[in-house]
């Protein structure tokens, strides 16, 4: 049995919380969060060790691995401390705010010899089927690829009964997030495309959009040319009330178009609200955590690793650098 510590009980942290409670081969033994409400929630759910400081959780020798679901600006410090405490790590995406911080994390976790995986739940969703088809050569040569991730983002998210959910202040500060929609959503799609086609990339460009009048992009197009000749467009945005997460691949033998998200049926929404049925996104998060725990138990190298996520950050960094200016 693997003992898990969860650091951060915000929106994504709560999804990991519920996923970890469903695992058969692991148990959630401790939670750390600075919020009193979050700690109260964890206690009410039967977690005995609840801390206001993650350093205390990391000192607990009974804990084998940690799930870090903190705001991006806290990733580096927390992941490095967890590696020093010899905890295996599932770190939420993006790896860090920038390449420099990302490199520090990769170096520390490799030196400490702990298993580190970065949370890209789309890799554990329906999109995993596409990987098999690409690898089997069913598409022939892929010529063009689209990765689309457009949704409400952190600002427009509403509850089941249409009440806007609070947005934490750090989301409004690109110094703390590392950027806007491109780093937040683009990393998902770039990671998927690299998983499908490999990480040899010859050029990266972007067009950033600022509909929100804020000092970060709320939508972006990222153009990637893979060494094997594939031209890819990553299209991300935080502006739409409807969620669209989509992959489209155009090959010489076959075309694939797969989307997840979109409005759920009323019956499903009621079951989600009451917690009777897990949301589709929750299933991907569950599969992700289950896989990570199996890697810990069976001494396997998890994927996507911190080094994989660093490559995603490098591409995003290039995209920010190589902006196509509007004329």
């Amino acid at each position: 049995m693997v003992n898990i510590g969860l650091i951060g009980l915000g929106r994504i942290g709560k999804i990991h919380f519920h996923s970890s409670m469903r695992l058969k081969n692991a148990r959630l033994v401790a939670v750390a969060d600075t919020s009193k409400t979050a700690r109260h929630f964890a206690k009410a759910q039967g977690i005995k060790k609840v801390y206001d400081d993650y350093a205390k959780l990391l000192e607990d020798s009974n804990i084998d691995c940690v799930v870090i679901a903190l705001p991006t600006f806290l990733h580096s410090k927390c992941a490095i401390m967890a590696a020093e405490c010899k905890k295996h790590i599932l770190l939420e995406k993006p790896l860090a705010r920038n390449v420099r911080e990302g490199k520090k994390i990769v170096s520390k976790v490799q030196k400490a010899g702990v298993k580190t995986m970065v949370g890209y739940p789309l890799r554990f969703s329906e999109f995993a089927k596409i990987k098999k088809e690409v690898d089997n050569g069913q598409l022939g040569d892929v010529v063009n690829a689209y990765g689309i991730n457009i949704w409400q983002g952190p600002f427009l998210t509403i509850s089941e009964n249409s009440i806007p959910l609070p947005v934490r202040d750090w989301w409004f500060n690109p110094e703390l997030t590392g950027g806007g929609a491109l780093i937040d959503l683009g990393c998902h799609m770039i990671n998927l495309l690299i998983w499908y086609f490999g990480d040899e990339i010859v050029s990266v460009k972007s067009m950033l959009g600022h509909r929100f009048n804020m000092p970060f992009e709320d939508h972006a197009l990222c153009f990637i040319k893979f060494k094997q000749g594939i031209s890819a467009i990553v299209n991300v945005g935080w502006y739409c009330l409807q969620n669209t997460i989509k992959i489209e691949l155009f090959g010489t033998a076959k075309t694939i178009s797969m989307a997840i998200g979109g409005p759920a049926k009323t019956s499903s929404r009621i079951l989600y609200t009451l917690g009777i049925k897990p949301r589709p996104a929750s299933s991907a998060f569950y599969n992700e955590l289950d896989y990570f725990i199996k890697c810990v138990m069976n001494d396997l190298k998890p994927s996507p690793s911190a080094a994989d996520a660093l490559r995603d950050l490098e591409i995003i960094s290039l995209a920010y650098k190589n902006q196509i200016q509007h004329t």
Binding site: L156, S162, P164, L165, N213, M214, L241
Partner: protein
């Protein structure tokens, strides 16, 4: 009986002209010696006007031009909104385009949560409430309510003029009022009664977002809400906060339409189907039951 004017306003049209016509139709005349005008749009979330959820700052900009042309170029105009549980004014004013518009038009943006205020007691349905009355609204010579018309998952079932005044409550953690929302909306309307309501129905959020091209005006928030409810396919006599507002003397549920016909807009409004209404009722009953059982449901 109150007058409600309905005016066609195409998305590309001259809003100022439509605004002027909507005021003329209800026979509204500006009182003399106006110095301070307060406008309350709907800035309740970070979704901009194109979604039909928040007031279009372009309409406010045209209203400002209209006011300056018809009252005085020196009149002081303030655009007001408060912080809410999920939405902070300092961000919504940027994201929704109000900061840019206020600079261009040289008007003040006032976060009512940071405004000076005084406590005011009010009774609604035999319950006592104490609210904070912001000085900017208290000192206004003319208070214009500029809401959107849209469905809510209820209660209340719709959001329009009466509900928009909820955003004038400076207290930021409004979440706490949700169990008594109807009474709180009516209570706030009793202490902050607008002189004029102008509904931005140019883009609306019904079952889906649609360009409806409607500007409505009335000096009675209850009458304009009743007209909006009719356009949205609902009976105002079955909407709790409108019924309560009537009982508490906030306004008049009966109204006379002037201008375009109500049916013209009612036909085009993206109404909910009977199935949607059943779903909404089930959610309403389910949520109130869960709340009664002590579950913390927002």
């Amino acid at each position: 009986m109150s007058f409600v004017s309905l005016v066609k306003a195409d998305i590309c049209s001259d809003f100022k002209k439509a605004i002027g016509r909507s005021f003329d139709l209800i026979g509204f005349h500006f009182p003399p010696n106006l110095q301070r005008i307060v406008v309350k749009p709907n800035m309740c979330c970070y979704s901009d006007y194109s979604t039909g959820i928040t007031t279009d700052p372009k309409i406010i900009a045209e209203l400002i031009d209209f006011l300056r042309e018809n009252i005085s170029s020196d009149v002081q105009i303030s655009i007001v909104e408060s912080d809410a549980s999920a939405v902070k004014f300092k961000y919504s004013s940027k994201i929704l385009g109000y900061e840019k518009m206020s600079k261009e038009k040289n008007v003040k943006l006032v976060n009512l949560t940071e405004d000076s205020n005084e406590e005011v007691k009010v009774r609604v349905a035999n319950h006592s409430y104490t609210f904070l009355l912001p000085s900017t609204i208290k000192d206004a010579d003319l208070f214009i309510n500029l809401p959107k018309m849209k469905y809510m998952e209820g209660p209340p079932e719709i959001s329009c003029a009466l509900k928009n005044i909820y955003g004038c409550n400076p207290y930021p953690n409004k979440f706490k009022y949700h169990p008594y929302l109807d009474e709180v909306i009516v209570g706030l309307n009793k202490i902050m009664k607008p002189d004029l309501c102008l509904v931005d129905g140019v883009i609306v959020r019904g079952k889906y977002t649609k360009k409806l091209g409607l500007i409505m005006a009335s000096s009675d928030p209850e009458a304009i809400d009743s007209a909006a409810a009719r356009i949205m396919g609902l009976n105002p006599k079955k909407i709790d906060h409108i019924v309560l507002a009537e009982k508490e003397g906030v306004g008049n549920m009966n109204f006379n339409v002037v201008g375009e016909s109500l049916q013209f807009f009612a036909k085009q409004f993206p109404k909910r189907s009977a199935r949607d209404k059943i779903r909404s009722t089930v959610i309403k009953i389910g949520l109130s039951t869960l709340r009664r059982l002590g579950l913390n449901i927002p």
